[in-house]
């Protein structure tokens, strides 16, 4: 994970941020500021550092906040599959698996670009992500991470539906989430044949629905940029 403390930042700031992390779980990173600088357009190659707290991406509030939350997740997924397609596992994969992963990558990029266009000026900046913990040459690791991202995405949209107030936005989220579920089933099937749902669907036949906080916490280790989700609606 590409976290680092800023030059000149003392222990007090470190502890302060750590406290914020534990106290307010929406501040997901206390030290992932590097990319935020670029993202906010207030830094340059000479490395002028922002004051503490300025490097974060703020998702915003209301429906816009939820759509930015979705945009963040789609950025993460699109970046993941883009890297997968450059890796050794993909290069040597059977044609059927290549087709699935290529399709999914295209879908996620389209989701990302659509949300960016829909959000317009309200869109958050590009997130810095890292998949350093996933060996892109290792089929088990790549597909395992893909399963995690797809199941997480499904649970995220399922949990966020009730937080949207505009029917068109709910419909759009619904159009995306079922495609994520189709992905999840296909990836699971590649890992274990006939395991399209596994234990992710409970005894009542229900998929998971997670809060933004739970989802962003689960995605935390893959997102270097600090995400401030504190203004998102919670009910």
């Amino acid at each position: 994970m590409a976290t680092r403390l800023l030059e000149g930042e003392g222990e007090l700031n470190f502890l302060d941020r750590l406290a914020r992390t534990t106290g307010r779980r929406t501040f997901l990173h206390w030290a992932g500021l590097t990319i935020g600088v670029v993202a906010l357009g207030c830094g340059d190659d000479n490395g002028t550092e922002p004051p503490p707290g300025d490097g974060e991406v703020n998702l915003g509030s209301g429906d816009t906040g939820i759509l930015n939350y979705a945009y963040a997740l789609e950025q993460l997924e699109a970046a993941f599959y883009t890297q997968v397609l450059l890796g050794a596992y993909f290069t040597g994969a059977p044609a059927g698996e290549k087709e699935i992963l290529t399709d999914i990558k295209n879908h996620e990029v389209i989701h990302r670009e659509f949300l960016k266009a829909a959000l317009g000026a309200a869109a958050i900046a590009n997130l810095e992500v890292t998949f350093a913990t996933v060996d892109m040459a290792n089929r088990t690791q790549v597909l395992g991470a893909a399963r995690t991202f797809e199941d997480l995405g499904v649970s995220a949209y399922n949990g966020a539906g009730k937080l949207l107030t505009v029917a068109d936005n709910l419909l759009t989220a619904g159009k995306i989430v079922s495609v994520e579920a189709r992905h999840a089933a296909a990836i699971r099937d590649l890992i274990v044949p006939f395991s399209f749902a596994g234990d992710v669907v409970d005894a009542m036949g229900l998929d998971k629905a997670n809060t933004p906080t739970a989802v962003l916490t689960a995605a935390d280790s893959f997102i270097t940029t600090t995400i401030n989700a504190s203004q998102l609606p919670t009910a």
Partner: protein, 268 residues
């Protein structure tokens, strides 16, 4: 959430019915190892709680949506149960259809519970004819397993579009909307699994049905849409290959469109 409190507030007869249904399902063995009985009151309680929180009765428009969904779930549940009972499904494919069948049974129980606790009257359980009045060969006779698979794909893809089309009508009730979304994505998982079993992609390209029965074309009508978001919408074709732009978004169907499809299989 305190399971006992919520569950205790339910009509005892309803509780018994749901539990006995679950027991009946479990006895067939198809949910063996899948059922976590302890988790059931939590999920069921979610719906019951919302119903009671609103003064025990749900608004008529929400009850209408739940009964619409229930009719579809009856269709799916009966279809898979008949398929499993008939022996038409080869052993190697049984794990998929056992799992799907268990999910559909659970959806029926969940919706029946929500409607009843919400003060509604259950829609009548239709008698289904899965030959669509002679349009198709009997899907439950072993040479016709491909028909069974094709019907399964059609029902699942219809289910995804049906729930998606009703989400907006459930916005006034967070718990029921969330539960409907949780069913919606499970139907999409089913659709992907069955499509792949048939040699199709897990996702829908354009409005291609992949089912050689023209009467099924309405199930895929409109899926070719590549303009997304609130009107006037955003053209998604610049963002990737043309067929991917269609695949990346599933489309809704209206209640009327779905009912037209379902009526093919309902004995009047």
């Amino acid at each position: 959430m305190k399971d006992t409190t919520i569950f205790g507030s339910l009509d005892p007869e309803l509780t018994e019915r749901v539990l006995s249904r679950r027991n009946a399902v479990a006895e067939t063995g198809k949910m063996a190892g899948v059922l976590a009985v302890a988790s059931m009151p939590v999920a069921f309680g979610l719906l019951a709680k919302s119903a009671f929180a609103q003064g025990t009765t749900l608004p008529a428009d929400i009850l209408a949506v739940l009964n619409f969904a229930l009719t579809l779930e009856y269709l799916e549940d009966d279809f898979y149960q008949a398929g499993i009972d008939s022996g038409v499904i080869p052993a190697q494919d049984l794990p998929i259809f056992d799992s799907i069948s268990a999910h559909e049974s659970a959806h029926v129980a969940l919706l029946e519970g929500a409607i009843t606790t919400g003060g509604g009257t259950l829609a009548p359980h239709p008698t289904f004819d899965f030959t669509a009045n002679g349009l198709l060969p009997d899907p439950f006779v072993s040479p016709n397993y491909p028909i069974f698979q094709a019907l399964s794909q059609g029902f699942e893809d219809t289910g995804v579009r049906a729930y998606k089309g009703q989400a907006g009508a459930l916005m006034s009730n967070d718990a029921i909307l969330t539960t409907a979304l949780q069913i919606h994505s499970v139907e999409a998982r089913h659709a992907s699994a069955v499509r792949r079993l048939r040699g199709q992609k897990g996702w829908i390209t354009g409005n291609v049905s992949g089912i050689e029965v023209p009467e099924f074309d309405p199930i895929y009508a409109g899926e070719e849409n590549t303009t997304q978001g609130a009107a006037p919408g955003i053209n998604t074709t610049p963002f990737g290959p043309a067929q991917s732009a269609s695949e990346a978004f599933d489309e809704p169907l209206t209640m009327e469109q779905v009912n037209t499809i379902a009526r093919l299989f309902i004995v009047p």
